[in-house]
Each structure stands twice: as C-alpha cells, then as structure tokens.
Amino acid sequence: MFRKLHDPGAQTVTIFIDGRPVPAELGESVAAVLLRQPEAWCRTTPISESPRAPYCMMGVCFECLVEVDGLASVQGCLTPVRNGMRVARQQGPRSLSA
C-alpha cells in the first residue's frame, strides 16, 4: 500500500516529451516527470486555453491530462513511465481526427 519515496533499485529509462528525450525512473509517474521540466505544464484547457499542470497527483482533479503513446487525455499522475514512452502536451480541445 505504501511505497518508499525512492525505490533504491530504480532503473533509469528515457521517455520523450514533445519529442525531446528526458530521463526518468521506473516506478514514477508521467506527471512527476513533467513537474521536473523547465515548463511544468501538461495541457491547455479546452475553453479558455490556459495552461495547466498536474495538481492532486492522485487521480481526482484531471488537471494532468496528456497524450501518451498517441492516446489522448490520459491522466499523467496515474500512468507509470515506460522506456521509450512518447508523451505530448495537449493544446486546447482535441480534434476528432487526431
């Protein structure tokens, strides 16, 4: 149920945020990696298009939506990183064809 803040045997992997390689550790969430980036926002809202960043980190606020491996509006805080994962920040409302 509880986990250490830092798993000692954590392995380093690479994920891609908007195409840029970023180091991450297995066991951490996409939202955690995003928060360490110089630009911490993960999406802009569909109506006012203001930028949003992960907030609650526990799956309830839905601020952390990102595109993961082509699937949009994934909750970044509930998604553990995988080596080679492609994360994209979302801008405004999604278009249906995307």
Partner: protein, 372 residues
C-alpha cells in the same frame, strides 16, 4: 405573505410554470423536494425536439410545435432577465439512419405522422448520404450510414442552465422558492388547500402539482388519479472536443463546451437509477457505427435518470373536478415544452382554467375502463 398559488415540484416543469405565473403577477411560491428524489430535470439530454413526436396523438404534435415556436422568444426574454446563456440553437436536427431499411423505415414513420394532420408541407426532409456529408463536413460517417431525417425546427439547449435560469427568473419576478420543502400531504379546507410539510403548514387557494414521479401520491389527495411509471434513460458524455458536429441528432449531440452527449437508453427497471455496463457498451457500439472516429475519444461520465411516463407517453394537464383550483402538469419532454409551460399553460392556470384545446391531455383519458 400568503401566496396566490403554490407550485409543488421545482424541476423544469414546475419551475417553468411558476416563472410564467409570476410573470402574470401572481404571488407564487415554488416548493421543491431534495436530492434524494428522482429528478429528471437534472438527468436529461437537452433536445428541443419535434421530429417524430405525436404519433396517435395529433394534439401532442401541435403542442410540441407551438412550444418550439415560442422557444426563441422565451430564450431571449429569460436570458435578458437572468444573464444566463441557455445555449439554445435551432438550426435543425438529425436522426441518423443505418442501412437501406433504416432509411425507408424512418421515411415511412415520418410520413405516417405527417399524414395524421397532413395540412402543411412537411417540415422535415430525408437526406441521403451525400447530402448528409455536405451538411457535416467534419464528420467521417460509418459505412452503414445511409442518410438521416432532418427536422427543420429541431434544436438543443443546455438543460441545467435552463433550470437555473427558470429559478432565477422566478425570483426576479417576485416569486419565492423553498428547497428541501417536501409536501407530505394535501388537505382541502373549504376553497383552500392546506399543504403539510415536515413541521410546517402552508395554505393557498390554488396549487399546481408538478412533482414529477412524486406526483401521483399528491394528486390522489385532490381527486386526480395520474398513472405514471418511471422509464430509465442512460447517457454517456465524452471529453471536450473541437466542434465537429454542427447539428444535434437524436442520441448524439455536441454541446457548446465541446463534450459529446450520447444517449439515451430506454428500459423499465422501476425506481432504479443505477448505470449499467450493458448500456455503456450498447450506446458506444451504436455511436461508433455512425461516427467511427469517436472510438478514440474518452468517456468521462455516465448517468441514469428516470423519465416521467404516462401510459400513452403524452403529457397530463388537468384541473381537478372535485377540487377546483388544484392542477397537475406532467410530461417527459420538459425541456421542449418549457416555453409552452411558461407562456401558455401558466397563462391559462392564472386565468383559472385550462382551455378546450388542452382537453386531450386531461388525465381522465386513462379513467376509461379497459376493454377486456
């Protein structure tokens, strides 16, 4: 202050009538129940809809048409009064057809309905697939879509904003609203009605029972037997998307905020508002058949509500014969009929009686003993 009239039930129907009465300079008090009640007004789909309605009951077709004719003016007035945007659009509406049989069946059904009255040119048209594609340039239709019926008068609005605006407008016209004010009993005393609430009694010379599924128990006490059954409807909502669907369809509409509403199912589990995986799967499957790209979109919510159904599916508007001054108003298209309730029906109630053209909606149509 002693009210001239008390409206029981603060859903879309009761609130529209109460607002209309307040505009007629009546002292109105609106009493509403609590969140434990079944509340269709908070579960519905938001269509303001004519096409396909009224088979077997021409008066219902006329009523719906009349209400829609009032909707634009009603919207303008209430928006000006409350500054609440109802998001009402009336650019026509669609019913998608699957397969050649689906297309022919739809044409046949609408023709039958048209011939029931038949005096005017149809206010709908059958669109074949290529006409439909021209109308929906951003939609890649599924292979099985053969076309759609297009109803010129159809439209949609935000039903929650409508409800909020009706409450707000009622207050602005000097009416009162009491929440968590469940009427437990009605006692006729002389020409008045005494309403017994938890720990409190209110008196008024006239009452309107518009308490949705809570109505039969109340109406019985003033001599009106109103047969009702709950019909469950389930709705799905997607995440917000860029506008792609310029017109609402029965069962599929994109709101002003970008979400897509999908629904609603129909079944009869009694007083049960649970959602089912079966409904979610069925609605999703049907939707993807029409717009395959929606398969990639996230659902964010599913809910169920109970429609307020009479045996023939048509509204009940009646004044009690044994207890004049007591009215009942029930229907399952309270959004579509909101303009009629606020303008025409409230006007008639304020004047003291329902006009002859509403007699087909009297509850007595269900009193006739059924032939064996």
């Amino acid at each position: 202050m002693r009210p001239d009239i008390i409206v029981i039930g603060g859903g879309t129907v009761g609130a529209a009538i109460a607002y209309g009465l307040a505009k007629q300079r009546q002292q109105v008090l609106l009493l509403d129940g609590d969140d434990g009640d079944f509340r269709a007004a908070r579960a519905n789909f938001g269509l303001v809809w004519l096409q396909g309605k009224g088979l077997g009951m021409p008066a219902y077709q006329v009523l719906t048409r009349d209400s829609i004719a009032l909707w634009r003016g009603f919207t303008n007035e209430i928006e000006a009064e409350t500054k609440i945007d109802l998001a009402y659009e009336q650019n026509g509406g669609l019913a998608f057809c699957l397969g050649e049989e689906g297309f022919e069946k739809r044409r046949h059904d609408l023709m039958r309905l048209h011939n029931q009255r038949g005096e005017r040119a149809p206010d709908w048209a059958m669109l074949d697939r290529s006409a439909l594609e021209r109308l929906l340039p951003k939609v890649a239709l599924g292979p099985n879509v053969t076309g759609a019926s297009f109803g010129r008068h159809d439209g949609h609005a935000n039903p929650l904003r409508l409800l909020a605006a009706l409450h707000e407008a009622l207050l602005r016209h000097g009416g009162g609203i009491r929440h968590r004010a469940r009427v437990e009993r009605i006692e006729p005393v002389g020409r008045d009605f005494r309403l017994i609430l938890d720990g409190e009694t209110l008196v008024a010379p006239r009452i309107v029972i518009a308490a949705g599924l809570g109505s039969p128990a109340l109406a019985r006490q003033v001599g009106l037997v109103v047969p009702l059954r709950p019909e469950r409807g389930q709705v799905l909502v997607t995440e917000r998307l860029e506008p792609f669907l310029p017109l609402p369809a029965s069962g599929l509409r994109q709101t002003g905020e970008g979400t897509v509403m999908i629904g609603a199912t129909k079944d009869n589990p009694g007083f049960d508002v649970s959602t089912t995986a079966e409904a979610a799967a069925g609605l999703s499957r049907k939707t993807i058949e029409i717009v395959p790209a929606l398969a990639q979109v996230r659902l964010v919510r599913q809910w169920a509500g109970l429609r307020i159904m009479t045996p023939d599916g048509h509204p009940i508007y009646a004044q009690s014969q044994s207890h004049p001054g007591a009215f009942v108003a029930l229907c399952h298209s309270g959004v579509t009929l909101a303009a009629f309730h606020a303008e025409t029906l409230a006007g008639a109630i304020a004047a003291g009686g329902l006009p002859e053209n509403l007699s087909p909606f009297h509850q007595r149509r269900f009193d006739v003993p059924q032939a064996a």
